[in-house]
């Protein structure tokens, strides 16, 4: 029998506690940079959690998920630009715009399969990208700055970095909870059934298309909320947040963390952003004994390492970080049993 408390559970618990206590660490050390970095991680983790719902559980390989980040962000920024600063208006509007876009994109693209689906979702994201570049009133290619963050009256002040971090964290936990409840519900079971064998599910009488579309819209909406958060985080939106390589980053997070697992995307976002942040230092550190003069310069070429690393992960570690933890749990199982 599998022990109730495995190594994997311990790591996940440590992660959640760590994320919750991070502002305490920042307050003690005064390391404001970590707070900014982790706010970004938490927001992108939320986007990855939403993508995981359709990619991991639904088997829908959407290559345009960054479009919802952009749509949510732009809705917030445009409303702010037009003088509407209230978060109670901005955020629901961001959700509604993303949901509507996901409904249209989903209804059209879910008719196709395989590579065609990958490409059509990509095409719609590119449309959103060019739409944003073309809006001269809202900055076009240069993007648009937010005057102020979304206001919530006396309820909370998002310009306080710690408050904002906790808002993002609570929303991340809420999304994970939502995905957990969804995937264990009848709806989620059908969605996973359709992923495994669509013909069979249709034969039993489930309308596969409608289930897929519902999942697609939920994921898009959730990612739109992450978009509204990221616009508040950077106080800036630009078309580049919808470029197709951004969608690629989100897919990397999901797969790196472990597809179709509850906490995988969080690990993935954490790992990718940590690599982005610390791989340059690490490379400099390794190169230093060999070539002290070129060490700092070598760190600049960190993507030379990250690229092949992704390929290696794809080839040899399909389960991602979560799979690795599960494997370790099996090995350590007996020792950790309470």
């Amino acid at each position: 029998m599998k022990p109730a408390l495995t190594f994997r559970h311990l790591v996940i618990a440590a992660l959640l506690v760590g994320l919750t206590l991070l502002p305490l660490y920042v307050a003690l050390t005064g390391d404001r940079f970590m707070l900014t970095l982790f706010t970004r991680i938490v927001i992108l983790a939320m986007a990855a959690v939403s993508l995981n719902l359709i990619l991991g559980y639904g088997g829908m390989m959407s290559f345009g998920h960054a479009a919802y980040l952009g749509l949510g962000g732009y809705t917030t920024a445009i409303l702010s630009f037009e003088g509407v600063h209230g978060g109670f208006v901005q955020w629901p509007a961001a959700l509604a715009v993303s949901a509507l876009f996901a409904l249209v994109v989903g209804a059209l693209s879910l008719r196709t399969r395989g590579v065609y689906f990958i490409m059509i979702t990509l095409a719609f994201a590119q449309m959103a990208y060019y739409l944003a570049s073309g809006m001269a009133r809202y900055g076009g290619d240069d993007g648009l700055s937010l005057e102020t963050r979304s206001t919530f009256g006396d309820l909370m002040d998002l310009s306080n970095k710690t408050t904002f971090y906790y808002v993002c964290l609570v929303l991340l936990f809420a999304s994970i909870l939502l995905v957990w409840r969804l995937t264990n519900s009848r709806f989620g079971m059908v969605l996973q059934g359709v992923r495994s064998n669509e013909t069979r599910m249709s034969a039993i009488g489930y309308p596969a298309f409608r289930y897929r579309l519902t999942g697609f819209v939920i994921a898009g909406t959730l990612c739109g909320l992450a978009g509204a958060l990221i616009a508040n985080h950077t106080d800036f939106v630009s078309p580049s947040m919808m470029f197709w390589t951004r969608s690629g980053d989100l897919i990397v997070m999901v797969v790196l963390g472990g597809m179709g697992t509850l906490f995988g995307p969080v690990f993935g976002a954490l790992a990718l952003l940590f690599l982005e942040q610390f791989l340059p230092h690490f490379i400099s550190f390794v190169v230093r004994p060999i070539n002290p003069a070129g060490a700092a310069k070598a760190g600049e070429y960190w993507q030379l390492v990250l690229g092949p690393l992704l390929l290696v992960i794809v080839l040899f570690a399909r389960g991602g970080i979560d799979g690795l933890l599960a494997m370790l749990s099996d090995k350590l199982g007996r020792k950790v049993r309470p």
């Binding site: 490409m119 073309g134 390929l311």
Partner: protein, 305 residues
Amino acid sequence: MTLFIEQCLNGLQFGLLLFLLAAGLTLVFGIMDLVNLAHGSLYMLGAYFAATFAAWTGSFVLGAVLAILATLLVGMALEVIAMRRLYGRDHLDHVLGTFGLILFFDELVRLIWGPGGLSLPVPPWLDRSIEILPGIQYSAYRFAIIVVTLAVAAFLYVLVMRTRVGMLIRAGASNREMVGALGVNIKLLYTLVFGLGAALAGLAGMIQAPILTVQIGMGENILILAFVITVIGGIGSIRGAFVAALLVGFIDTLGRAFFPQILVELLGRQAGSTAAPALSSMMIYILMAVILVVKPQGLFAANSR
């Protein structure tokens, strides 16, 4: 009228150029069932090689030939080292793995050639305009592109439809396992096909080098266009890629040239000039969405998979 004919020629030239990229992509797609995002990196490498070799040898043509050979070699090496291991896995793995390769190649180019772009001047003997129709002047370089790409398209047609290798390629596109079972050295065939695709991408990059600046990330925009073409044309179909490439080339070029005026006429100056840039960039993607909604397998589906 002169402007219209000139823009039509530009559309033809752009379409044929896109065909070079899409042909390689659709071959690799159709035969190895591999989604290769790194195809744009090979295009970028072709441009960098051409600029470098042309500067070394002092000859544009020699530089071009060397650049194509170099991308062919890089392509074949890439297939043997990395791509081969991705065959038979699902498309998500392809997307991720080759996405990693894009990062790698972008960074490699930055390491070798530095972050600033290169430029490849148009050779003097092509740097003028010629009178192609009575009263219509056209850039000699662009005209040369049309001639060269048409020749390559004809070569591809003969190669695929009239030779033994082409027969194997077509057979591979419709049933890979069967071709392997019949005793064809499928590994070698794959390496050759991938190399051919890489060389075509390199040629496209080399051709674009004098028109655009040679820079990091230049492959990323055009890659998506090439994918759009592959998908519109139907995966694995070279004929489909040809038709779709011309379609996309014309629509994109003519759209950018004339669509803003039409919109201004329709919507009035203010609204028209605001909406035009976004809409003309989006047109190709709208076209693709419409085609896929009507025909989910593309215009000329080569295989039923």
